[in-house]
């Protein structure tokens, strides 16, 4: 699992931490995108964009 430091840094917008989170979830994204029977690259791009904006909105105190 991702360390809390990485999570907090990513939520502050630190590029390296965000990239680490993206890499961590890349396999999960691929498995979701394979639902149609093949790896849909456009679907992965959509998810990556949504993930990054969600990371920046993450607030652990809420």
């Amino acid at each position: 699992m991702l360390s809390t430091n990485v999570i907090l840094n990513a939520s502050k917008g630190e590029a390296e931490a965000v990239e680490q989170v993206r890499r961590y979830y890349s396999r999960y994204m691929d498995s979701l995108a394979r639902r149609l029977g093949y790896l849909d690259v456009e679907a992965v791009c959509c998810m990556e964009a949504r993930l990054v904006s969600a990371i920046l909105r993450f607030d652990p105190t809420r």
């Binding site: 999570i7 979830y25 639902r35 456009e42 959509c46 998810m47 949504r50 993450f58 652990p60 105190t61």
Partner: protein, 131 residues
């Protein structure tokens, strides 16, 4: 708040976001498929056929593009001066009357009619020699 709780919170948050994202993506695909169809599904439609402008020529006549793909016609039209070509295409392709063409080119109508008949004659001669 302990670290493990934050990690689990973040993990479930990210997975939920990704699931929502993929569901939205597939919904948009289904919505698009309901309203749109691919040109490849209609290979017989002329609008679906690929066209290539190898040797084609497009002339702008009074702001309107006029395109020819027959190389003989293109050769014949290229043998004319630009003004003559404009007159010939405006009359024969765009269907403009002599009066309209004369007004646009600021010429006398009878001069234009005479010139147009000469142009047609020249084109006929050119095409006859080619064939």
């Amino acid at each position: 708040m302990d670290e493990e709780h934050v990690q689990h919170l973040f993990d479930s948050y990210c997975r939920k976001v990704l699931r929502n994202a993929i569901n939205d993506y597939y919904d948009s695909l289904l919505r698009r498929r309901r309203w749109e169809s691919l040109l490849t599904d209609y290979p017989q439609e002329p609008s679906a056929a690929d066209t290539y402008d190898l040797g084609d020529a497009t002339y702008i006549v009074f702001g309107e593009p006029v395109r020819f793909s027959d190389p003989i016609i293109v050769d014949a039209l290229n043998s004319l001066t630009e003004l003559d070509r404009t007159i010939a295409l405006a009359a024969s392709v765009l269907g403009f009357s002599d009066r309209t063409i004369a007004d646009r080119l600021q010429m006398v109508r009878r001069t234009l009619t005479y010139r147009r008949s000469k142009i047609y004659e020249a084109l006929r001669c050119y095409l006859r020699t080619l064939s």
